[in-house]
Amino acid sequence: MIPRIYIPGDSGALALGAEKVAKAVRAELAERGIEAKIVRNGSRGAYFLEPMVEVATANGRVAYGPVKPSDVKSLFDCGLLTGGHHKRWLGAPDKIPFLARQTRLTFARCGVTDPLSLDHYKAHGGLNGLQNAVAMTPADIVKQVTESGLRGRGGAGFPTGIKWKTVLDTSAERKYIVCNADEGDSGTFADRMIMEGDPFVLIEGMAIAGIATGATKGFIYIRSEYPHAVAVMQKAVEIARKAGVLGVNVLGSANSFDMEVRVGAGAYVCGEETALLDSLEGKRGQVRAKPPLPAHKGLFGKPTVINNVISLASVPVIMDKGAAFYKDFGMGRSRGTIPIQIAGNVKYPGLYEAAFGMTLGEIVDDIGGGTATGRPVKAVQVGGPLGAYFPRALFDTPFDYEAFAAKDGLIGHAGIVVFDDSADMLKQARFAMEFCAIESCGKCTPCRIGSTRGVEVLDRLAQNVEPEKQIALVTDLCNTMKFGSLCALGGFTPYPVMSALNHFPDDFRPTPVAEAAE
């Protein structure tokens, strides 16, 4: 059998030099006259080990990492193809502690299979969920998704099954499934990883959503900052169409479903579902007032399911293994698993899929290993640019929608950005306002004007101009933005600002200049 070498084509791995490693491996194979197949898999998510090269041996996969191009020659000398020992040797990838401790349901195949091999996908349990779905009634599919307890992984946490039921119950001659792949939050990359590493799971999830609700057309709206994900998804849709997974007879059934990949144009606010729909329609990405809900009047005024990538990619395993299986994981009203993305100034950055309920401290200290710089952790921002900054004092908060809301935060898309003690929280609060000003769609006043005024007030605070007055002003402004904005951009910008102010008050009261202190 021809040996198989896995070198990730995931853009995180590419950013760390995977392409140069692949080139070096090809050159070495040619020089030694060895025939081998190089598979460009996704990443398993242990990015501190990327580029991680794996070989399929008689005793299973063996991993090496992080591999530099200069390691390649010695890797072959040490018997790479038979899993020979080398200073980069990691052993069986699923035994690596960071990976072994996870519960991989949604990301079960990511990094394991060839992303564009439908045969690989099927061999690892792919299409079982869709196979079951085509034999069921739409109402039964919706019931199963509802019973699984799956909630929107984009951040809002709305029960997926209830959204689907609304669309199913709304009659129309045309309905749509829209996948929100406008993953703009800093510190998040789960959507990117699944699209690059296991695109068929998203296609399968969308097809199931279509059959469950009577929608026949799907759109995946991917941000333009993700060119690699766009390319993989486009190829995967083509392959799925040729294989009859998509088309007029999904898997040979009477159900029709097809989809298109669409690319955004660099507007963060298009991650908001109604702005995304306007953008897909070819308009400015401005937020719509609700009601009407997209489930009633969505894309082109038609009933539309709009779900995040991870929500849709979690559906196949629910349809394959059952609602009870999925629901068994998690805590409280947060059921199933959540792919936590650990990023920023952290020793072991990566994607960690686990059941809800781990504490923030476990995630940052035990899994993430503390900061990359080795300095103390000062703050972690959870849930992207609109998420709160948590101090160490709140590290006992369990990862759960309600528990985070109770601490004036949100889990959002489950990205965690770690900052060490050099972080200036006033500066971070100012950035939150500045970012809101740059990305505001302009439709509502609290967001459009409030964010600009917020930057000005925080600038005055930084210059120590009547600090107490500025703090009162920014608090009041945040209140107006929180309750007066049309969507989460203006409405949630107060989370990072107020959490920084409340948890790190010292950073907001600049010390008097040295001369004055004598």
């Binding site: 950013a15 760390l16 993953e183 070819g282 769609c441």
Partner: protein
């Protein structure tokens, strides 16, 4: 600029792109992406052609073009360097990286060097938060930026 094509040529090339994409549902963004790919920017002369073909006003087309950060009103430099300025990269010193890069290139964000070699742009997250600070040079991703990598980038764009 002398390098920019004449308006009649823009109109005909724009019409060809519209013809290809007009059948899509919600064709405006795909058309604008196509035009930017064709010309490297969205020329003013393309707007009335789009407006007429899609039966919308020029103001509407203008509104859409100017709403999105991606669409350029002028050609970019030969290389486009996008530097991430979002929180995860901030936590790893992206401010200092940006300052160093601006001084090495002698330009600020949204500017192009005088020799037309490179345009520098901020970007808010490339999804490479596991290897911050990160950047994208002509679509190629680069992680864990440091002084050495910055020097390599500058040498590459100037060559």
């Amino acid at each position: 600029m002398s390098m920019q094509p004449a308006s009649t040529e823009i109109a005909s090339r724009t019409a060809a792109i519209i013809h290809e994409l007009k059948g899509l549902e919600g064709p405006l963004l795909p058309i604008l992406h196509g035009i930017q790919e064709e010309f490297g920017y969205v020329p003013q002369d393309a707007l009335p052609v789009i407006a007429e073909a899609l039966n919308i006003s020029r103001a509407e087309v203008h509104g859409v073009v100017t709403f999105y950060h991606d669409y350029r009103s002028q050609p970019a430099g030969r290389h486009v360097l996008k530097l991430c300025q979002a929180e995860a990269c901030q936590s790893m010193g992206s401010d200092a990286i940006a300052a160093r890069l601006k001084s090495l290139l002698g330009i600020g964000f949204h500017e192009t060097t005088r020799d037309g070699s490179v345009t520098l742009e901020p970007v808010y997250c490339l999804g490479l938060c596991v290897c911050s600070p990160s950047a994208m040079l002509d679509g190629e991703v680069i992680g864990r930026l440091d002084d050495e990598k910055l020097n390599e980038i500058v040498a590459e764009v100037r060559s």
